[in-house]
């Protein structure tokens, strides 16, 4: 009766997955006060970025880096840091340039 073994394996996997997803949803509920406390920390210290990559200013603060930061040595310079190849180029940089152009500041 091999099909019983197979059904057993599938049921066991589904039960484990359901338990993991169940515990995940409990963790999300439980973490709410902690998340609120961390949001307060962000607000109090006026933080803007996650402390993930500390090797360069544009990887430590991707949202605060100037537009030329990844090419700080010369235009189209090769990326120095491994983290720079993990994260995508910030989409906002183009939009920011657009915003600046819209005001006419660059053209003046």
């Amino acid at each position: 009766m091999k099909y019983k073994i197979f059904t057993g394996i599938i049921v066991a996997e589904l039960v484990i997955l359901a338990m993991l997803l169940g515990s995940a949803s409990v963790s999300v509920q439980k973490s709410k006060p902690e998340t609120a406390a961390r949001q307060q920390l962000v607000q109090a210290l006026m933080l803007t970025d996650l402390a993930l990559w500390t090797e360069a200013r544009y990887t430590r603060h991707p949202t605060q880096a100037d537009m030329f930061a990844p090419f700080q040595d010369f235009p189209s310079a090769i990326e120095h840091f491994p983290a720079g190849s993990i994260i995508a180029p910030p989409q906002v940089s183009n939009e920011r340039t657009g915003a600046v152009q819209k005001t006419g500041t660059l053209r003046r």
């Binding site: 995940a24 998340t35 109090a44 210290l45 993930l52 430590r60 983290a83």
Partner: protein, 390 residues
């Protein structure tokens, strides 16, 4: 077709798989590994993005930097007065921060100046707050404490911009729960950070602008840019958009791992779809010779595909969940860490996007089942005598 017949065919399919157990075991392992890698990456990036988006809701609505020669420059405090005159602005607060390279450990720290810390954040700190007059008092991140083996009331000698040593004293340590935000932080009084970095009087690193009506932030940003053309306003919406885009499909890690996994999977599928082994062809020939219909053979192959892909898919998803949310993505850590000396332990709240699980299932289970059925169908429509002789 009744259920009993399906069970019999499933039983036969399992016996058939058991006969080639080594080959099928390797297939299950490879299949699970591909699902595991893809799901781990998607779980990790989704959790990171969600965490960032949720936490950054508390970040300042508008930050104004000064740009000179395309680079970030200290902003004169008189700019704060200019910005305060704009209608809709309620407050302008200067921020003092910067980076410090620590030669003994080779780590970069982020120094931040703050004279007043609200009591609400006390639950995130072990030890005490410093006060404005406590010269050298500071609160450090867990990563800084670990890399320099620091405890409360220990000292951190740092080099000032003029080359002289300045002593900081650890009054508090941020708890591990805030690592994702504070791992490399050293928070001290504004006078201390100005002394260490030699920030000239009447200047700040950048300005935080509080706008009464959040819907007017863009308008205020435009007015600031008109009034002070050498500034660069950064809105909160931009911060959040950056983090949403950061780990999106375009990122290098995504491309590298997903492309590898998808290619490996399609090679496996291709191998499966392009032909049956001599033994499998012979098996189909014999089944047809003893009276099985084409539909029965297809049901058999369908069940073989379902058995392999369901077991592997579920195993891969379970392993990915445990890897990312229980073991902090330990396998990706060397890639993620890069050259960072201080890298926080990735302890995320397990937020699952069911759509991602569905996409992985759609991209793996269905192609595999089709790849199992198609060559068998080709064999099944051929004359049994011809199949067994080839």
């Amino acid at each position: 077709m009744n259920l009993y017949k399906h069970i019999r065919i499933l039983e036969f399919a399992l016996s058939s798989l058991f006969r080639r157990k080594f080959k099928n075991l390797v297939t299950v392992l490879m299949y699970s590994l591909i699902v595991f890698l893809t799901a781990s990456l998607l779980f990790l990036t989704h959790a990171l993005t969600q965490e960032a988006v949720e936490l950054l809701q508390g970040s300042p609505g508008l930050i104004v930097q000064r740009i000179k020669g395309g680079r970030h420059e200290l902003v004169p405090l008189r700019y704060a007065g200019e910005i305060e005159k704009i209608r809709g602005v309620s407050e302008v607060i200067p921020r003092f921060w910067g980076y410090y390279y620590d030669p003994p450990t080779g780590a970069n720290y982020t120094f931040m100046g703050a004279d007043e810390l609200p009591p609400e954040i006390a639950m995130m700190i072990e030890g005490a707050f410093y006060n404005k007059n406590d010269r050298g008092g500071c609160i450090i991140g867990q990563g800084v404490a670990d890399v320099r083996f620091l405890e409360l009331e220990d000292i951190i000698p740092v080099k000032k911009s003029d080359g002289e040593l300045y002593i900081l004293r650890v009054r508090g340590i941020f708890k591990a729960e805030s690592n994702l935000l504070t791992n490399d932080l050293i928070v001290m009084s504004i006078s201390d950070i100005n002394t260490i970095f030699g920030i000239p009087a009447h200047t700040a690193t950048d300005l935080v602008v509080r706008v009464r009506n959040p819907r007017e932030v863009s308008t205020v940003a435009r007015k600031i840019l008109d009034k002070l053309p050498d500034t660069r306003p950064i809105e909160k919406a931009e911060l959040i958009r950056t983090y949403k885009a950061l780990f999106a499909w375009r990122s290098g890690l995504m491309a590298a791992i997903l492309l590898g996994s998808v290619t490996a999977f399609f090679i496996m599928i291709w191998d499966k779809a392009t032909g049956l082994s001599a033994e499998e062809r012979k098996e189909i020939g014999i089944l047809k010779a003893i009276g099985w219909e084409i539909s029965d053979v297809l049901y058999l192959k369908f069940w073989e595909g379902v058995v392999i892909s369901t077991v592997s898919f579920l195993a891969g998803i379970i392993a990915a969940h445990v890897h990312v949310f229980w073991f902090g993505s330990v396998l990706f850590l060397p890639i993620l860490k890069g050259w960072s000396v201080l890298f926080p332990r990735l302890n995320f709240t397990p937020r699952i996007d069911f759509f991602q699980i569905f996409v992985i299932m759609f991209l793996t289970v269905i192609p595999y089942i089709i790849a199992t059925i198609v060559p068998s169908w080709k064999a099944a429509v051929t004359d049994p005598d011809t199949i067994t002789r080839t």
